[in-house]
Symmetry: C2
Subunit: 197 residues, 2 copies
């Protein structure tokens, strides 16, 4: 979506919020422009004015998520070095999720499954993973610089951490984990402890 003026910016925000709510309520499989329009306070024709189809809207939604994620990560930088990784964990895979959070993780995961067949989706999720990895690398560097962490290989460790987060998100979205959620959190804490200088 081309944003030329403040008004368009507000429209995009409202439409992205409507897409978020529609994804939480219906999941990707049952999502339609009509269902997004039902959550949108402005006219449906305005959606078609800005987007050719549902995919164009969803791809912009992923870009919007990328922007929001970048903002959220900036907040995290204010945490103590050494605490950032655990705070990030609790943000991405909170012990208690309300229905909206759980539905949203599932919906994002459904969108991710379009990636193997659809290059624009593949590109977005590659970028999303790289952004996440970049931030994990920054927390590691901050910890090493502050003398809190050992001098580990930052690139390797960030890659490793990324797969822990992606794996945990997949498991939370597709299996009945029960008590395993707490076990995983404890294991992550031990891993971070082992990074100590």
């Amino acid at each position: 979506m081309d944003v030329d003026e403040g008004e368009s910016d507000d429209t995009r925000q409202a439409l992205m919020r409507a897409t978020f709510r529609a994804l939480c309520d219906h999941g990707y499989a049952d999502l339609s422009i009509q269902r997004i329009a039902d959550e949108f306070e402005k006219s449906k024709s305005l959606i078609y004015y800005h987007y050719d189809d549902k995919d164009a809207l969803l791809l912009d939604f992923l870009d919007y998520m990328h922007e929001r994620f970048t903002e959220g990560m900036a907040e995290m930088e204010r945490a103590e070095p050494g605490e950032q990784l655990l705070e990030f964990y609790d943000l991405v895979v909170p012990a208690e999720m309300d229905d909206e959070q759980a539905s949203f993780i599932v919906a994002l995961f459904e969108l991710r499954t379009k990636a193997p067949q659809a290059p624009p989706y593949r590109e977005r999720f590659t970028d999303m993973d790289e952004l996440m990895k970049e931030h994990l690398a920054r927390y590691l560097e901050t910890g090493i610089d502050a003398g809190v962490f050992r001098d580990v290989d930052v690139d390797e460790t960030a890659e490793f951490l990324l797969s822990i987060f992606n794996g945990m998100m997949v498991e939370r979205a597709t299996t009945a984990m029960g008590d395993r959620v707490a076990t995983h959190r404890a294991a992550f804490e031990s891993y971070v402890d082992d990074l100590s200088a």
Copy 2:
């Protein structure tokens, strides 16, 4: 599928192989009983004789995968303690995948996305993760008993390792990782080194 006799057993094997090939060729989204029948040397009516619909067949395919995975894991037990984790890594996320392996990981991942909405799929993937975790725990115990690994918390560490594998599989299936594949392998090796007694 009820297997009462040897003949039925052969039929199931042939049908499971046909399902595997159809999933590799078409992915889950474009899969149909007809496409499975095209890969099956026996008659299509035999498929409907044993399965009510595509989902019943796919759920049995997941049970078959579970059985095959159990067999594959038994082989792994023969590796040296301390080597088992790395051999498992190379089996599950090989550095070089042929087209069939890559397509199959993608197809399994597509099936996994049915789990949030469909309890029978959720149950299969919960079992699959628990089976994988059990084997990871066994490799850890073998290593600890042999004095190769430190006395780590087996349950926590196995849970942690499981998410590393699931995360890596998701990333391989849905992003363009490039050189990150080798970085991840190196990170995994460092992690196993850090388990050393």
